[in-house]
C-alpha cells in the first residue's frame, strides 16, 4: 500500500530487513539471531534442511508467528506486534489454502471485499489477476474442480490481488508433481519480475531456490549461513555446510599437509579456509564432480566403475586406490574412452577446497 515514490517504476516493492530475530519453541531455537536485508523488488529464497527456521522466518514477516526478540523492518518501519490482518502481506501456502466454499473468482476477490471494494471493481480486478495467472476462464469454478497447479495459481492471484507490500511463498510448489512444479516455478518468477514485488520464497529444494531467486539464503539452526547470488553460492560457498547443501559434493579422505594444504590421493590441494588443524590430521575434503578430471591411462591407479550419460556431460563413478568412490562430471566427448572397467589417472582441479563438517 505504501508507494515508494523515489524509486523507478520497475522497483515498486518494499524493502524488508530482519534484525537479530530470535524465536524458541521449548528447547528448539527456530531463529537464533537471524539478520537479512531484502532489497525492494528482490526475490530472495530461504533454503535449508527442515527445522532450520526458514518457515518460521517467513511466518514472522506474515505476522503468523511471534518473535522472542528482534525486529522486522518493512520500508524501515518495525512491524513486529502488528496483527497479521493489518500487515498487507500476500501469502501463498504449500496447499489447501483456497476457501472451498467460494468460487475461484470470489477467492481472488476475498481480500478486496474485506477492503470494502465494490462488486464491479472486485470482479474486474479478480478477472485481471486470473488472466495474469492464465486462468481467465475458470472464475466460476470451485477449488476442488481445479488441479493442484491451478489451485496454486489461484492462491497466487489471491495473494497479489490485495497489492501486498511483500509476497511470501511458503514452499508453494512442494505439493505438485515435477512437470507442473518446474512450469509454475518459472511462471512465479516471470510474474514477480513483472509486478516488481519484493518476494521471500521458502523452500527445501535447492534446484528451485537456485533457479528462481536473485539471492539465496542458506539457513542452518536458525541462522543464515550465507546469502548470495546462486552462482556465487555454488562457486564460492562460505562454509562447508553451504558447500555440502548446495549441489553435489565428493567427500574424499585426505590428510592435512603443511598447514594450508591437504593431501588427497597423492595430490596437494590448497585449503580455502585453513583452520587450526595439525599436520597429518585426517579430514574429508569437498570437491565438486565437475572439478574432478579423469584421463584414460592403461596403468592408472583409478578404476571406472560406472558411466551415466546425461547429454552434454557424462557422470562417471570411479574408485580411488583406497576404495573411495568419487563422482566426476566430464564433457561427454572426453568420456567416450572411460567405460566401466577402464583405468585412469585422476585430478582435482586447482581451486582451493573446503573440508567437510565433522559428523556429516
Amino acid at each position: 500500500m505504501t508507494v515508494v515514490e523515489n524509486k523507478p517504476e520497475t522497483r515498486t516493492g518494499a524493502s524488508v530487513e530482519f534484525r537479530g530475530l530470535r524465536r524458541e519453541f521449548g528447547d528448539v531455537k527456530a531463529l537464533d539471531g537471524l539478520d537479512l536485508v531484502i532489497e525492494p523488488g528482490e526475490l530472495v529464497a530461504l533454503l535449508g534442511p527442515s527445522g532450520c527456521g526458514k518457515t518460521t522466518a517467513l511466518r514472522v514477516v506474515a505476522g503468523l508467528e511471534q518473535v522472542d526478540s528482534g525486529e522486522v523492518l518493512v520500508d524501515g518501519t518495525d512491524v513486529v506486534g502488528v496483527p497479521a490482518n493489518k500487515r498487507d502481506m500476500g501469502m501463498v501456502f504449500q496447499a489447501y489454502s483456497l476457501f472451498p466454499n467460494l468460487t475461484v473468482q470470489d477467492n481472488v476477490a476475498f481480500g478486496l471485499r474485506l477492503r470494502g471494494a465494490g462488486t464491479a471493481e472486485r470482479h474486474k480486478r479478480a478477472q485481471e489477476l486470473l488472466e495474469l495467472v492464465g486462468l481467465a476462464t475458470q472464475g466460476k469454478r470451485y477449488p476442488h474442480q481445479l488441479s493442484g497447479g491451478q489451485q496454486q495459481r489461484v492462491a497466487l492471484a489471491r495473494a497479489l490481488a490485495i497489492e501486498p507490500r511483500v509476497l511470501l511463498l511458503d514452499e508453494p510448489l512442494s505439493a505438485l508433481d515435477a512437470q507442473v512444479r518446474n512450469q509454475l516455478r518459472d511462471e512465479i518468477r516471470r510474474l514477480q519480475l513483472r509486478v516488481g514485488i519484493t518476494t521471500l520464497f521458502v523452500t527445501h529444494d535447492q534446484e528451485e531456490a537456485l533457479s528462481i531467486a536473485d539471492r539465496v539464503g542458506v539457513m542452518k539452526l536458525g541462522r543464515l549461513e550465507q546469502c548470495d547470488t546462486p552462482a556465487a553460492l555454488y562457486a564460492r560457498p562460505a562454509t562447508a555446510f553451504v558447500a555440502e547443501f548446495v549441489g553435489t559434493m565428493n567427500h574424499l579422505p585426505g590428510t592435512i599437509a603443511g598447514g594450508t594444504e591437504v593431501d588427497v590421493a597423492g595430490h596437494r590441494l590448497k585449503l580455502a579456509d585453513p583452520g587450526e588443524r595439525a599436520d597429518g590430521a585426517a579430514v574429508r575434503v569437498l570437491v565438486r564432480p565437475e572439478a574432478v578430471t579423469l584421463e584414460p591411462a592403461a596403468d592408472g591407479p583409478v578404476r571406472i566403475t560406472d558411466a551415466s550419460f546425461r547429454g552434454a556431460v557424462t557422470r562417471l563413478t570411479a574408485a580411488l586406490p583406497d576404495g573411495t568412490t568419487v563422482l566426476a562430471d566430464l564433457p561427454s566427448v572426453n568420456a567416450a574412452e572411460l567405460q566401466p572397467g577402464a583405468s585412469a589417472t585422476v585430478g582435482f582441479g586447482t581451486r582451493p577446497v573446503l573440508l567437510a563438517t565433522d559428523g556429516s
Binding site: L64, R87, S97, L114, Q127, A136, T137, Q138, K140, A159
Partner: protein, 267 residues
C-alpha cells in the same frame, strides 16, 4: 445375487421393525367403538387444552438451545482445533459427561448453580435452554469436531488472516461456511433432543410439549397413541424443513460449479 437378496432381506426386516409399530399405532388411534374407524381420538386431541401453548414453548426452547449451543460451541471448538489441538481428547471426554451423569443430578446441579438467579431464569423454561445446551454437548461437540477435522483449518484461517480478515470475519466468513453441514447437523441433533426430552422438563415442572404429551396420553388410550404420533410428526416435519434449508444451500453450491466459461458473472 445372494448378496443382493441378503441386502434386501435386511432392508425389509428393518423396514418392518420401524413401520409395523407405526402402522399399528395409526390403526389403533383411528379405532372407534364396535370395530369401526374414525378420527374421534384425533379430534379430541386437537381440543385438548395446552397443545399449541406447550408446542410453542418447546419450539422457542429448541430455538434458544440451538442458537446458544452454536454461539458457544462453534468458536470454542474452532479455538481448540486452532490453538490447543492437544486438548481435543480432554474436550471430548468432558463433552461426554452429560451422557453418564443421571438427569436428576444434572437438574439439581443446575438448580444449585442458578439458585440465586433472577426469576426469569429460574421460574421459566429459560432454565431448560441452559440444561439442554449441556445435555446436547456430546452430540454438538462430536459433530463440530468432525466438521472441523475435515477441513484444512489452520491454513484457511492463516490465509484469511493474511488477506486482512479479523477474527470475527474468519469465524463467520471462513470457518462457519466451510463446516456448514456440521453446523446443521448439530442443530438437527439439538432440535430432536429438545422435542423429545421429558425427564428434565418434568422434574422442573415445565410445561413443554413432551410433558404435555405424556399428561394428555394418560387420560385415554386412543388419545395417548394419537398424541405420540402427533409429536413424532411434529419432530419429523421440523427436521424435514431444516434439511430442506440445508439441502437447498448445498444444491446451489453445486449447481453454480459446472458453468465453466466465465464472462462477467452476476453478483
Amino acid at each position: 445375487m445372494t448378496n443382493k437378496w441378503g441386502r434386501w432381506t435386511v432392508l425389509v426386516l428393518f423396514g418392518l421393525y420401524f413401520l409395523v409399530p407405526m402402522a399399528a399405532s395409526i390403526e389403533f388411534s383411528l379405532r372407534d367403538v364396535n370395530d369401526t374407524h374414525s378420527f374421534a381420538s384425533w379430534s379430541k386431541l386437537l381440543d385438548e387444552p395446552g397443545l399449541f401453548a406447550t408446542l410453542g414453548t418447546s419450539l422457542w426452547v429448541a430455538a434458544g438451545t440451538v442458537v446458544l449451543t452454536l454461539l458457544i460451541m462453534v468458536p470454542t471448538v474452532s479455538w481448540v482445533h486452532l490453538r490447543k489441538p492437544k486438548l481435543r481428547r480432554l474436550m471430548e471426554g468432558i463433552s461426554l459427561l452429560p451422557l453418564v451423569i443421571p438427569p436428576i443430578v444434572l437438574v439439581n446441579g443446575v438448580l444449585v448453580v442458578f439458585a440465586d438467579a433472577p426469576e426469569v431464569i429460574n421460574g421459566t423454561p429459560v432454565i431448560l435452554v441452559l440444561e439442554y445446551v449441556v445435555l446436547a454437548l456430546p452430540f454438538t461437540y462430536r459433530t463440530l469436531d468432525a466438521g472441523l477435522q475435515a477441513i484444512a483449518l489452520p491454513t484457511l484461517v492463516e490465509a484469511a488472516r493474511s488477506l486482512g480478515a479479523g477474527w470475527s470475519t474468519v469465524l463467520l466468513r471462513v470457518i462457519v461456511p466451510n463446516i456448514r453441514s456440521a453446523v446443521f447437523g448439530a442443530a438437527f441433533l439439538n432440535l430432536a433432543l429438545v422435542l423429545g426430552e421429558y425427564t428434565l422438563a418434568s422434574i422442573l415442572l415445565m410445561d413443554t410439549f413432551p410433558v404435555w404429551t405424556v399428561q394428555t396420553g394418560q387420560s385415554e388410550a386412543g388419545v395417548s397413541v394419537a398424541v405420540s404420533l402427533f409429536s413424532l410428526f411434529v419432530a419429523f416435519m421440523l427436521l424435514f424443513v431444516l434439511s430442506l434449508v440445508a439441502g437447498r444451500r448445498k444444491r446451489e453450491h453445486n449447481l453454480a460449479a459446472p458453468i465453466a466459461p466465465a464472462s462477467q458473472g452476476p453478483a
